[in-house]
């Protein structure tokens, strides 16, 4: 799930002021 839990999203990805979540390869790689 991405985009349904603001706090969880902000920890893993970049979450904008308006709640749009940016996901890129580096962020996914950091999750292991």
């Amino acid at each position: 799930m991405i985009g349904e839990d603001p706090e969880f999203d902000a920890k893993r990805f970049y979450r904008s002021e308006q709640g749009v979540v940016l996901v890129n390869a580096d962020m996914l790689a950091a999750l292991g």
Partner: protein, 182 residues
């Protein structure tokens, strides 16, 4: 914001001058352009005058996509039934490189595993395999796998969304693989 046209020689000279200016914050919009305007070295053309509009009454279409929010909004606006920018206007084709790709494909029509896209734009080479795509814009060669759901998703080229993944109001960068569990 706007579109700027320079000769290369003039632009290089101005950038070097700004680089040497210790009082400058070296911002194009805050420093370089105002400097040129203040010295009468810039000429402006009103965008409103030559902008292509969906209808004569419509506002001139311009979007600054310098933030994630504005980039997302500009893309998602295109999937609206009547978007501010009509990219289907044959009188104003978009001349750009397009990779030769097979059409988008939507497969499986089982009650619990149906490949559909609604209020969305799906580019060539995409496969929606038993997934539900709503209010989303998919660039080329994306794959959305079974039982996955997207809403408000902007997927750049070559993104793969794994089985049962759920994406809401996202921008996913080129080539990312979204696994089922994150």
């Amino acid at each position: 914001m706007g579109v700027y046209v320079f000769t290369a020689e003039f632009l290089y000279a101005e950038l070097e001058r700004d680089h040497r200016d210790g009082t400058s914050s070296h911002d194009f919009g805050k420093d370089v352009i105002p400097y040129l305007v203040s010295r009468g070295l810039a000429v402006a053309h009103s965008f409103e005058v030559s902008c292509v509009k969906t209808t004569p009454e419509a506002e001139a279409y311009w979007r600054d996509v310098g933030t994630i929010d504005s980039y997302w909004s500009a893309n998602i606006d295109l999937v609206m039934p009547v978007p501010s920018l009509d990219i289907y206007d044959r009188d104003w084709p978009i001349w750009t490189y397009q990779q030769q790709l097979p059409p988008a494909k939507f497969v499986f029509d089982d009650p619990d595993r149906r490949g559909v896209a609604v209020d969305s734009m799906v580019s060539g080479g995409c496969i929606i395999s038993g997934a539900t795509v709503r209010r989303s814009l998919l660039f080329s060669n994306c794959r959305v796998n079974s039982h996955a759901r997207t809403s408000g998703a902007v997927l750049l080229p070559d993104v793969e969304v794994g089985r049962r993944a759920r994406l809401t109001n996202v921008v996913v960068d080129r080539g990312c693989r979204i696994r089922r569990i994150l």
